[in-house]
Amino acid sequence: MSLGTFLKSKLVPAELDQHINRIRKPIGTLGYDPWGFNADAVKYGFSLTKQIYEKYFRVSAHGVEKIPADGPVLIIANHSGQLPIDGLLIGYALASRKKDPRIPRAMIERFFPTVPWLGNLLNEVGAVLGDPVNCAKMLANDEAVIVFPEGVRGSGKLYHDRYELKRFGNGFMHLAMKYNAPIVPVGVVGCEETIPAIANIKPLAKALGIPYAPVALPVVFPAKVHLNFGDPMHFDDLEIPEEQVTERVEMVKAEINRLIDKGLSERKRLF
């Protein structure tokens, strides 16, 4: 038995292997898709995330069954916590659901592809450079796509701004309308407390070429995470002025705010 097979037998139980194999993906003969998704890497990622999801963050997810079983869908959530842990947890929640699991794709910061190892790793488990062309082609491929319309404005947020939604970009709404993709809003509660940052050293971030350089303790706190999935929202594809698109975005934002409030009221304690 080779080392690879041995590790696989230990890390990827047969049940998990079958679970992932059950999820159909448009991949090529060697298990890759154009964005670098790799079925084998996903199995390892899934196995590792299971521990983080269940043991470390003890995630409680409500309403994940509201995400349609097939067809294009945009999962829109609030972004927080310096690292894209929220994306990982939402992805796992959907991939691990018993009925009609799906492996969603997450749109990530433009800075990640330039980071050795990490960039490729993220691509292999389904993350994709956050480019509108990528998102459009994925929706055309009937994928479920996780988007954080706040972008770095959200993830780089400081602790005193927690649960305050930053400006949402309008791009996701245009894509949802064009591809007739329902929007499932998600309120994430708990990730703000995983890496609380008190300041952002902008000159350092600029020098290192990264989006932000937070002043925070070098630990990820095991805050309990609540994910609340809302009902799918449908928008028609009429030609409407940008102002009205923004109004639609605000509707989604208001729904996410409501879901966050719901999560905050459900939360008994931080950890």
């Binding site: 003969t29 060697l30 890759y32 154009p34 790799n38 330039t114 450079l129 480019d131 990528n134």
Partner: protein, 315 residues
């Protein structure tokens, strides 16, 4: 009874493996003339073959003598060959001369072979790039300027002289037996450099499939620019592994380090101006071509890699 005249076709780049495949596919039905700037190749008694520089006046004599109906221009000098200046002369000025003559002598069909390199490997590239995407490679290196200029030129002639029926093909990495480009050399070698921590998605097309694509394109006069790539993808380092290559990692950050190393080593198979292509993906969308010309590649990736794995030791 009048016998129908067989089409007369000029094929450039005849010394290359791809042109020879195309020639062998067309020779039964067409009268071919082969030219190459590098060497004169013997292709049998029925195919006149010349070593010729397109920018020289004698090139026109071929058009006068053979009355071509079509041109298949595969004679693009690759970025790994010659100097930048000579390459520019041959690729850009040579192609201009070729297209001017094609127009003057009433040619009805021109197929130009370009490359996916024109899109440029940039960190912010989306996947499945389609033909209308901007050509960013000029910003990467002056060594790729001639490839983009060749395309621009062909594009100008495409709309200025619609009668030429120009089709530009932008294939992904062409590999397989006899191919001598950078990627094929790497896959065939026992040890291949990689940039540590970077394994971009790549696409490979077998030389026989590419030859089929060119013949299909020639036979259906649809003007335009088309990507040619199979619907299959693999990460670069995985491809090397499947070809039985040992990977030699080169430190990749900060970016000046690998550039310095490659400039110092001057590896022909891993030139510094192509460095970005081993770092960031350029995944093209070949579906428009497949639809328009009813093209389906027949050789899967594993067959391509098996060839390289089984032929490590040159005979």
């Amino acid at each position: 009874m009048t016998q129908q005249r067989r089409p007369h076709i000029l094929v450039t780049g005849a010394a290359g493996a791809l042109a020879q495949k195309v020639i062998s596919q067309l020779r039964d039905t067409c009268d071919l003339v082969a030219v190459d700037f590098r060497e004169q190749v013997y292709l049998g008694d029925d195919i006149p073959s010349y070593r010729i520089d397109f920018t020289k006046r004698v090139f026109e004599d071929l058009f006068r003598r053979y009355q071509f109906d079509g041109v298949i221009h595969l004679g693009r000098i690759m970025s790994s060959e010659l100097t930048r200046m000579r390459r520019y002369n041959a690729n850009v000025l040579g192609t201009q001369k070729l297209l001017d003559l094609s127009h003057k002598y009433g040619i009805k069909r021109v197929v130009v072979l370009s490359t996916f390199h024109v899109y440029g490997a940039v960190a912010y590239n989306p996947a499945l790039i389609d033909e209308s995407a901007p050509l960013k490679s000029v910003g990467l290196s002056a060594d790729l300027v001639d490839s983009v200029e060749l395309e621009n030129l062909a594009n100008i002639y495409l709309w200025r002289y619609p009668d030429l029926n120009i089709t530009i093909l932008r294939p992904c990495n062409i590999v397989g037996p006899g191919v001598r480009n950078t990627m094929s050399t790497l896959l065939a070698s026992e040890r291949a450099p990689v940039l540590a921590g970077f394994s971009p998605m790549m696409q490979f097309i077998h030389i026989d499939d590419m030859s089929d694509a060119i013949v299909l394109a020639y036979n259906k006069p649809v003007r335009g620019v088309f990507n040619v790539a199979p619907q299959d993808w693999v990460a670069y380092q995985h491809a090397l592994k499947l070809c039985g290559c040992r990977r030699i990692p080169i430190p990749s950050i900060p970016p000046a380090v690998p550039k310095f190393i490659l400039n110092t080593l001057k590896l022909r198979s891993f030139p510094s101006y192509l460095m970005a292509f081993f770092k960031y993906p350029v995944v093209i969308d070949g579906r428009a071509f497949a639809r328009e010309f009813d093209f389906e590649p027949k050789r899967p990736l594993m067959e391509i890699f098996r060839f390289y794995r089984d032929n490590k030791k040159p005979v």
